[in-house]
Symmetry: C2
Subunit: 369 residues, 2 copies
């Protein structure tokens, strides 16, 4: 449970999957409330596809938490993550909730980050300190998510809390802008799971003048929010199930931003590319092939590929064994950038991805069984 | 090498990947010739992304083969499959070609099927006998391909030969129709590799009256061609890298055929679904999730899922542990059908897929290294 001692403004971005958990449908309503007070989340059970009972259990969860904290039911966001199609053990949830009010601590963030883990191997926290109108403020976030990421993401949850004073309208704008350059670069609300949610609460306790327009303070806040969310997004990819590499796929020279994005996603999601990353094998043909079938406009005779600063392909032609040997060394690194220039324009986009190794199969063949 | 002793009509369907092997670009020209004589293919090297040298090597291959057989260069299709970005060892190819004319045999099809294998574990042949206008005719095909299939297919090659007498125009029509219900159900020309090709030669030696319109004989021929190509497509999925299961994903109740196809492909390509198939784990939430993010219209409260004839989900709700135990048994089978009804209309489509296991990672992390 995350709880604000004073009313806060809240905002959320949620999955675009046609099948949404009832908790997401409920949270979309809560996000419309003028003020909110907190978030309750459980892991292990997604409470999705359980028929009408699903929404009943969401309301029971919110209602129980609100009763315990002495606030309105509509003040509480509810999130669930875990297996789809199993009824939520609501009595267990109620029992667990009753222990929470006494256990709330200002420094309990790591415990909270740990409580929402599923196949995550590490809890994920990120925080920044800001100066807003001469006052100190904090933006702090926790997240869970360790799936293969788009297009088959395990549920991604992110909860951000800040004591900055900001209007609901500007908070929504900041959340959208920060999501676009963080979770949407690993994708949250495009192709996503039934429960994906990013929720932010701002309670104004910092005492800065309320941010209600695109001021210098707004951009300072946006920078902080973006830093926290980008940090968490990066941790999620790095903790990708069985992942051993964190790779940024940067597509340049595209005819449009959309093309750049499409090509970067096709490369990032290709199992053939991802197994080559795992093997640190400079099999650039697979990268080119994925760019080719993505539908993005490209000029086969102008395509170039580099791994960090080492070129492997220039103008559609491989640079041979010497370049390959150098690229192999780059691919031993834990983190690197693959730049693919499509030779078709001036737009660019990048996506974070990870490799696909034996551990991925092991985790996903065994999870739930 | 496949060679017809008399001039044949030829037709081909080729990859739609923006990056095409020069052999594919060349074959698209050959397919326009009034008559053709044969096909030359190599495996191990895709001759793709080798700069201008690639096309020079294709022409040298065709020219050498044509010279040896005493026909025109433009009578010979050329196919390559293997690693992208390595120059074709053209002297080795020429040397190999010189041995072929003496080795051609009417019963050499299995050798040919074996010669084009890359990561395939078995050679793939399929043939049917037909009666056309009172005459006996044969349709025989060979294929290679064992990738994870769409959207990251390793190259798929299929060569079909028939002694049926059919016009070039009707052969093209038959090839297109047969491809749509065979290789396009595992996908060839949508998202595909740089070298994918299906080529058919018909030399008329059977002596049936030439098929030049949509007659009874045309449909008999189309049935035969479809049977051969569907059989080969099925063998390719079954031989999917590391695959242990052959699963048909059949989407019904879709708002449009396009929606049905989109949802079936999303389910078929989901690594989370494919690892669950591998583990024989009835994790239907992953299936629903993939249908949900595919973009296909669906009614969450009307979705149903069955494994062969056993329902797992009815009207958006899981049927519980008893159903799950039964479905687990179905999933032990080598081959089964997953039917997903979207509850949104009357259209349907199906896609063949396979599971994703440890062997897939092993093969693709090690291939080429």
């Amino acid at each position: 449970m995350i709880f604000s001692e004073v009313p806060a403004v809240g905002a959320g971005v949620f999955t675009r999957n046609a099948i949404k958990s009832p908790s997401v449908l409920y949270d979309m309503e809560v996000a419309r409330s003028k003020t909110v007070r907190g978030i309750v989340a459980n892991s292990g059970n997604a409470n999705t596809c359980n028929g009408p009972r699903g929404m009943v259990d969401v309301l029971a969860t919110a209602d129980t938490a609100a009763g315990l904290m002495g606030v309105d039911t509509s003040d509480i966001f509810v999130s669930s993550t875990g297996v789809i199609g199993l009824p939520l053990p609501i009595n267990m949830v109620k029992k667990g909730l009753s222990a929470l009010p006494g256990a709330l601590r200002p420094d309990g963030w790591e415990d909270a980050a740990r409580a929402i883990m599923t196949t995550d191997t590490v809890p994920k926290l990120s925080a920044v300190k800001l100066r807003l109108g001469g006052k100190a403020a904090t933006v702090l976030g926790i997240a869970k998510g360790a799936g293969m990421i788009q297009p088959n993401m395990a549920t991604m949850l992110c909860f951000v809390a800040t004591d900055a004073d900001i209007s609901k309208r500007m908070l929504k704008a900041a959340l959208k802008a920060a999501t676009d350059v963080s979770f949407n670069r690993i994708t949250v609300d495009g192709d996503s799971s039934t429960n994906d949610s990013v929720i932010v609460l701002a309670n104004g306790v910092a005492g800065n003048g309320r941010i209600d327009k695109p001021s210098v303070e707004y951009y300072a806040f946006l920078d902080g929010l973006t830093a926290v969310m980008s940090g968490l997004a990066r941790m999620i990819v790095k903790d990708g199930e069985g992942a051993t590499k964190l790779v940024e796929v940067r597509v340049t020279g595209a005819a449009s931003e959309r093309d750049a994005d499409t090509a970067a996603r096709a490369i990032s999601n290709s199992p053939l590319v991802k197994t080559a990353l795992y093997a640190a094998d400079p099999n650039w043909g697979r990268i080119l092939c994925a760019a080719g079938y993505s539908g993005a406009k490209l000029d086969p005779d102008a395509v170039s590929i580099a791994f960090d600063r080492t070129f492997m392909v220039k103008r559609g032609t491989g640079l041979g064994p010497d370049a390959e040997a150098k690229v192999e060394k780059v691919m031993q690194r834990d983190e690197y950038v693959i730049t693919v220039d499509l030779g078709a324009g001036k737009s660019s986009a990048s996506i974070l991805t990870c490799d696909l190794g034996h551990e991925y199969v092991k985790i996903n063949a065994e999870y739930r069984s």
